[in-house]
């Protein structure tokens, strides 16, 4: 905890020399960097994120620009990934689709983490609520995430936000379990006891001590939920309840291309590869994070 106290007292930071020991985060970063699959995963994710952000500079067209004259053009120099039934450029759509799919993955993972953290903390801290909360979580956990997402998404209507809320709610129980387990262990540690004895309030203890220490398992599961969410978005779109067209989410591009899967294989192929690659990168990244941050953490998400 040395570096944390240092950050909290900037005056000492400026006056004293850097500590001789490398900080914990720096060690972690170095460890991560040495981890092969983390490097690979981070690399893949970074490339996809950069491509998504720079989409307007990479291609000049809009993802929804139609040109019926050029429908079903196979991959070529002009259209690297070919065109679809509207003559829309698949490459452009996949690039812009990355924005939507990554945003859905990111936002639902974050929302699930936040929800899971709140529920898990509440469960770990207020022992009397624990039984009820965890039973509800168990019940929700019993439902396949995709079914929950289908139900919630259907009720909220076809919007990107609905997809995010639906996927996030589906993964909250898993997050809550992880946070609760971590929090319960930390809660019993000596220094938390000490803090409690010295009169620190619950909020302070939760935010100062318990939450930071749940970060590792939480972060690891965020990456996995991110990967699941990208896959789940695609499945929802395939069932016709994803983000509404003409949004070029990867799932939508595949869903719209399924009638042409043989004749215009490129419509389905490239977004499918993009999904696989994004999920692969995130999974690799998550593997690395898990190995380094939390070697004991089971793969049970």
């Amino acid at each position: 905890m040395t570096d944390q106290t240092a950050i909290q007292s900037p005056s000492t930071m400026t006056t004293t020399a850097p500590p001789p020991m490398p900080s914990r985060s720096r060690v972690l970063i170095r460890k991560l960097w040495r981890h092969r699959s983390f490097r690979l995963g981070a690399g893949i994710v970074l490339v996809i994120v950069v491509l998504a952000l720079l989409a307007p500079f990479i291609t000049d067209g809009s993802p929804n620009k139609m040109s019926l004259r050029d429908r079903f053009t196979p991959p070529s120099a002009e259209h690297p990934f070919g065109t679809d039934n509207f003559g829309r450029d698949i490459f452009t759509r996949v690039l812009y689709g990355a924005r939507i799919s990554l945003w859905i993955g990111f936002a639902s993972a974050m929302l699930a983490a936040a929800g899971g953290a709140i529920v898990g903390m509440a469960s770990a801290w207020f022992r009397r609520l624990d039984g009820i909360i965890m039973r509800i979580m168990d019940a929700l956990l019993a439902f396949p995430a995709i079914l929950l997402a289908i139900g919630i998404n259907a009720a909220l209507g076809p919007q990107v936000t609905s997809v995010i809320i639906a996927l996030a709610s589906a993964y909250v129980p898993r997050m809550a379990r992880i946070v609760r387990a971590a929090a319960l262990v930390i809660r019993e540690l000596d220094y938390v006891d000490a803090a409690r004895v010295s009169g620190a309030g619950a909020t302070r203890i939760i935010f100062r001590h318990i939450l930071p220490n749940c970060m590792a398992p939480l972060l690891v599961s965020v990456t996995f939920v991110f990967a699941y969410a990208i896959l789940a978005e695609a499945a929802l779109s395939f069932l016709g309840i994803g983000p509404p067209p003409p949004h070029p989410s990867w799932g939508n591009i595949i869903a719209e291309g399924r009638d042409y899967s043989v004749e215009a294989w490129w419509i389905m192929l490239f977004p499918g590869l993009a999904i696989s690659l994004a999920a692969l990168g995130t999974n690799l990244l998550g593997d690395g994070l898990r190995d380094v941050l939390d070697p004991r953490l089971k793969m049970e998400q």
Binding site: M66, L68, R69, P158, G240, I241, P245, D259, S261, E263
Partner: protein, 519 residues
């Protein structure tokens, strides 16, 4: 965005025609083999089989095999007697006397009499969404077992045509079903098939009805009428929602016939050995619907502006369906097909004209909501292209893609804040003006349009076809000119048939009497 579709379409039509005549003509010459089960890969299955409640194609396709009506459509979609031996209309056009065929048996062995017919009509007037047809009935009379008389209060020149409807058909049920609630009848009819095993969402089997009594006064089958002969033991409808899977089932020989294929999926079966892809016309007509009671499309000029920007060829290409261009709300070659005088509101492609109209209407960038659904890709894709065309003329467009249930409810109720949507009409165009009436008023939410009201009054009161045709021309002109609906196309039905399924006849729905399996 000009395109070369007409040539493509014509080629498709010609090749389908050529393919059609060759194998089927020779098939007729061969002796029909008996037995076997036809496997039909259909896109979905019926939820219920009460004819008086049936409006969906998948329901009707089964119902037409199991049930029969007094009057039904022949191969040319005209009214012909089926369970009726014949009918007579009184001088004043108010009394209809049906002579029933004797010895017709329900599949449970009971003979059909006028009591069954009466019960059917009485139940229809209570439960069916199509009961408006019977609203003007003064009384029914059954002087004997084989005579059924309907007397109307007012002249209705097209009453017989209304009775031939394939939607909410007037199929004769046994009298025992008289008081069964809607959608809860026992499936017992006089048709050439009877219902066999039915596992909802999976498959449905119709079996040869051994008790069937065919019409002996006809040469052979004729649409839903004529002499029907069942050669196969059974037909199995497999419900396969994925188009890819239906095509695969034809390629692998798992299915003998399939339907509801997009143009591109049909093309996949081109050249596949043992399979003939076909496109059946007439099938449905596609329209853009404009909400005339919702701003800003409550303004006639704004609706007309949308009609002017609609580039039909692009809309057809985008729909991914096999379609023909035609301006009329009836099919070419039929009684109510209108000539050039009604064609000027079709496929205008006139962006300048549209902009002028918008200016005239004082359009100032008000949002126009284009609604469609994800369940029917042709609707969705048509609307996405139309939205682009509207934007090109400077309209502010919001695309709202929901699911079909929401979309359909909104079309029906007028709620949900939409201005522009699309759908296909399948029986209306086939059956003529009387069948159009509800739809014309319903979806565009037309209120207080005296041009339409007067023309329809004239239509029903005219015994002479020429007068009815004139009335219909006025109606159609008002709908198209006022841009309550924009005609898009005559859409064909893409199907594929195994070459060893012989004796198949193209019709609005797939018919399995008189077909046989050559194996």
């Amino acid at each position: 965005m000009k395109h070369l579709t007409p040539r493509n379409l014509m080629l498709a039509a010609v090749s389908a025609g050529a393919l059609m005549t060759a194998p089927f003509a020779s098939a007729l010459a061969q002796e029909a083999k008996m037995g076997g089960t036809v496997i039909y890969a259909n896109n979905s299955g019926p939820g219920q089989l009460d004819p008086q409640m049936a409006a969906s194609l998948v329901e009707l396709e089964v119902i037409q095999h199991v049930f029969e009506a007094l009057v039904a459509m022949d191969a040319g979609y005209a009214a012909k007697p089926m369970l009726a031996e014949s009918w007579e209309v009184s001088e004043d056009g108010k009394t209809f006397t049906f002579k029933l065929r004797q010895g017709v048996k329900f599949s449970d062995g009971q003979e059909m009499t006028s009591a069954d017919v009466l019960a059917t009509f009485e139940r229809y007037a209570e439960v069916s969404p199509g009961k408006a047809t019977l609203a003007d009935v003064k009384e029914y009379r059954t002087p004997d077992d084989y005579t059924f008389i309907i007397e109307l209060n007012n002249l209705n020149a097209v009453f017989i045509d209304q009775l031939k409807t394939p939607v909410y058909p007037f199929s004769i049920l046994p009298a025992s079903q008289r008081d069964k609630p809607a959608r809860e009848i026992d499936v017992i009819g006089t048709g050439p098939f009877k219902l066999g095993e039915w596992v909802k969402d999976s498959h449905l089997i119709i079996e040869k009805n051994e008790a069937y009594v065919p019409r002996e006064d006809a040469e052979g089958p004729d649409g839903y009428v004529g002499k029907k002969t069942v050669n196969v033991d059974a037909v199995r409808y497999n419900f396969v929602p994925e188009g890819n899977s239906r095509v695969a089932a034809m390629q692998t020989g798992e299915a003998d016939i399939t339907t509801a294929l997009s143009k591109d999926l049909l093309a996949r079966l081109e050249g596949v050995e043992g399979v003939t892809p076909i496109t059946v016309f007439p099938y449905c007509q596609n329209y853009v619907i404009l909400h005339s009671s919702n701003a800003p499309t409550d303004k006639r000029e704004i609706r007309q502006a949308i009609r002017k920007v609609a580039g039909i060829e692009d809309l057809i290409i985008a729909s991914g369906e096999s379609a023909r261009k035609d301006h009329s709300m009836s099919y070419p070659g039929t009684d109510y097909h209108t000539g050039e005088e009604n064609a000027k509101w079709y496929d205008e492609n006139d962006i300048d004209g549209a902009m002028a109209l918008l200016k005239e209407a004082g359009y100032n960038g008000e949002e126009i909501v284009v609604q469609s659904n994800t369940n029917y890709s042709w609707m969705r894709d048509t609307m996405l292209v139309l939205a682009e065309q509207m934007k090109a003329a400077g309209m502010t467009v919001k695309v709202d893609i929901t699911d079909w249930t929401t979309n359909a409810s909104n079309l029906q109720s007028g709620g949900g804040g939409w201005n522009v949507s699309t759908t296909g009409f399948c029986s209306n165009a086939l059956l003529g003006p009387q069948q159009w009436q509800t739809m014309i008023y319903n979806f565009p939410h037309i209120e207080g349009n005296t041009v339409l009201d007067d023309a329809y009054t004239k239509f029903y009161a005219s015994m002479d076809l020429a007068d009815r045709q004139a009335a219909w021309q006025t109606i159609e002109a008002e709908v198209l000119e006022g841009a309550y609906m924009i005609k898009v196309s005559d859409r064909g039905s893409n199907r594929a048939i195994a070459d060893d399924l012989k004796g198949f006849r193209e019709f609005n729905m797939n018919i399995f009497w008189d077909v046989w399996l050559d194996r």
